[in-house]
């Protein structure tokens, strides 16, 4: 048992949540991306499209659907993945890929933005992000009750490959559930709290994954062997113990990644479709990097849980996640303190002030600091 697994530190958790909020894609970017994919969906299903008479479903996959987005470092574009599931049978993989590609090429706007990737068609929105469109058909032999198993074309092998991104999202959301009653919620009934931020409502596991991904990006840059998000997310989902603490969730991820990297079996499948191999292409160099990330995560958790003092903690956060998100998080904490003082919701008790969650039944009386 380490200190990490002991009692939750709501003030530190607040900082971690705010760091995650500062590194994820903004609501504006989110909205823009949704607009783009709805437009693409419309173009694919409009009259004149070879798919006009077929049922088309477009949905996000990956970090956008999992709520684990992280803005790329430097000026790299952000990748958004969408599945375009077309209810057709009897088409070959190459035929489907070409049909979707050709339909997009017929559009004057999309034509110059198009490029082909192994399993998807990429639309580049200048200076902002890529939208990867993954053509898919329902898996005729799918065994899942929800009918979420799909087949997607793989251009390298000119054949179908198995996938189930939608099932994976459902699995991940289930795995993200917090097992204990949230203390903030329990206390909120006694002491009403000002509005919770969107991040506070976010599952600790999703926040911990965002932080782990940012650490990965800072450690390995755009290196080809950097641990893939899908591996981290799956291992995280398997290892997470349901704690309401982001720090404990980070610790769980470190343990899960390390156990996987040091075991003899490096096979990892989509938990909702065993035929989809996430560990595809996992070389020894990549496994080594997974292990490095696990040990960095572990030491980050130890340092974060033992560092005290806002300046030292901000410095630690900056080293791990970047200067800007660290300053934003600490500033938000100060703003919360000021807000509570102003609307008289700042409480105190033997453990100190209740900045994030109430510390006791007594409220701090209003006062103004004096002096220049």
């Amino acid at each position: 048992m380490t200190a990490i697994e002991g009692s939750r530190n709501p003030d530190l958790e607040f900082l971690l949540g705010e760091v995650a909020a500062a590194i994820q894609i903004t609501p504006t970017q989110h909205k823009k991306a949704s607009g783009h994919y709805h437009a693409v969906a419309k173009w694919l299903s409009d009259e004149g499209s070879p798919f006009a008479h077929l049922a088309i479903e477009i949905y996000p996959q990956g970090s956008m659907a999992l709520e684990t987005t992280v803005k790329p470092l430097d000026d790299r574009d952000f990748d958004l993945d969408f599945v375009c599931r077309i209810s057709t049978t009897g088409w070959s993989a190459d035929h489907l890929y070409a049909a979707v590609y050709n339909r997009l090429r017929d559009n004057d706007i999309y034509r110059p933005m198009l490029s082909m990737k192994k399993r998807c068609i990429c639309l580049s929105y200048q200076g902002d992000f890529h939208v990867d469109i993954i053509p898919a058909v329902p898996n005729p032999n799918g065994v899942d009750a929800d009918d979420t198993n799909i087949l997607i074309p793989d251009r390298q092998i000119s054949d179908w490959t198995h996938s189930n991104p939608k099932g994976f999202v459902t699995w991940f959301k289930k795995k993200s559930e917090v097992l204990t009653l949230k203390r903030a919620q329990a206390d909120a009934q006694i002491h009403p709290l000002p509005k919770l931020t969107a991040v506070a409502a976010k599952p600790p596991l999703a926040v911990a994954i965002q932080l782990a991904k940012r650490m990965r990006d800072r450690m390995f840059g755009s290196h080809d062997d950097a641990p893939r998000s899908i591996l981290l997310t799956t291992l995280a989902g398997h290892a997470y113990g349901g704690s309401e603490s982001v720090l404990t969730a980070m610790h769980d991820i470190a343990k899960g990644v390390d156990t996987f990297a040091t075991s003899d079996d490096h096979t990892l499948r989509n938990p909702t479709n065993p035929q989809e191999l996430f560990s595809d292409g996992l070389t020894s160099s990549r496994i080594e990097k997974l292990q490095t990330l696990a040990s960095e995560l572990r030491s980050a958790v130890i340092r974060l849980s033992s560092t005290r003092g806002a300046p030292a903690l901000q410095e630690e956060l900056a080293k791990l996640f970047g200067e800007r998100p660290a300053v934003i998080a600490v500033t938000k904490y100060g703003e919360l303190l000021a807000e509570r003082r102003e609307n008289h919701t700042l409480t105190f008790g033997p453990t100190g002030l209740g900045v994030v969650t109430p510390a006791g039944a007594s409220r701090v009386k209003p006062h103004s600091y004096y002096g220049g």
Binding site: L337, L346, T351, G352, L353, Y369
Partner: protein
């Protein structure tokens, strides 16, 4: 505020002891002194502090360790909201607006101690971000060295 409205010194001592077990509280010749450690929040440092309250005067607080200091990146900028802010090493927190926020009818345990915690937290956040987020009222030149 007349003295008969004031909280008895013995009550101040009892409340301090009941509320803050980490502070050692003594009362000698109508002067209350509380010494010990406080931790303002889960992210802050722990501070050794001293509170002195002479019957009839304003309570004073001192931060003994770690000592208060200016920001390393801006050594010419005094610590905000401190008395003796122009004498590095001698600063002490200004917790309230004299004559308005505090009066002797108030409990030290429920005002001065949480106010000091709040100040220390704002002080740490100022060190980290260079911004004083805690608000407050500016000193006038004349009262800068007042107690």
């Amino acid at each position: 505020m007349r003295y008969r409205d004031s909280l008895l010194m013995s009550h101040q001592v009892l409340q301090m002891r009941a509320t803050w077990s980490n502070l050692k509280v003594t009362l000698t010749r109508a002067k209350l002194v509380a010494v010990g450690s406080i931790t303002p929040s889960g992210i802050s440092q722990t501070y050794q502090v001293r509170l002195e309250y002479q019957w009839g005067a304003s309570p004073k607080v001192y931060v003994d360790s770690p000592p208060l200091g200016r920001r390393a990146l801006a050594p010419d900028t005094p610590i905000p909201h401190t008395y003796d802010d122009l004498e590095p090493g001698k600063e002490r927190p200004c917790l309230f607006y004299p004559g308005a926020d505090w009066n002797p009818a108030m409990s030290l345990a429920k005002t001065i101690v949480p106010w000091l915690m709040s100040w220390l937290l704002d002080y740490e956040l100022w060190h980290a971000t260079s911004k004083w987020l805690g608000g407050g009222i500016e000193h006038t030149k004349q009262s800068r060295r007042a107690s």
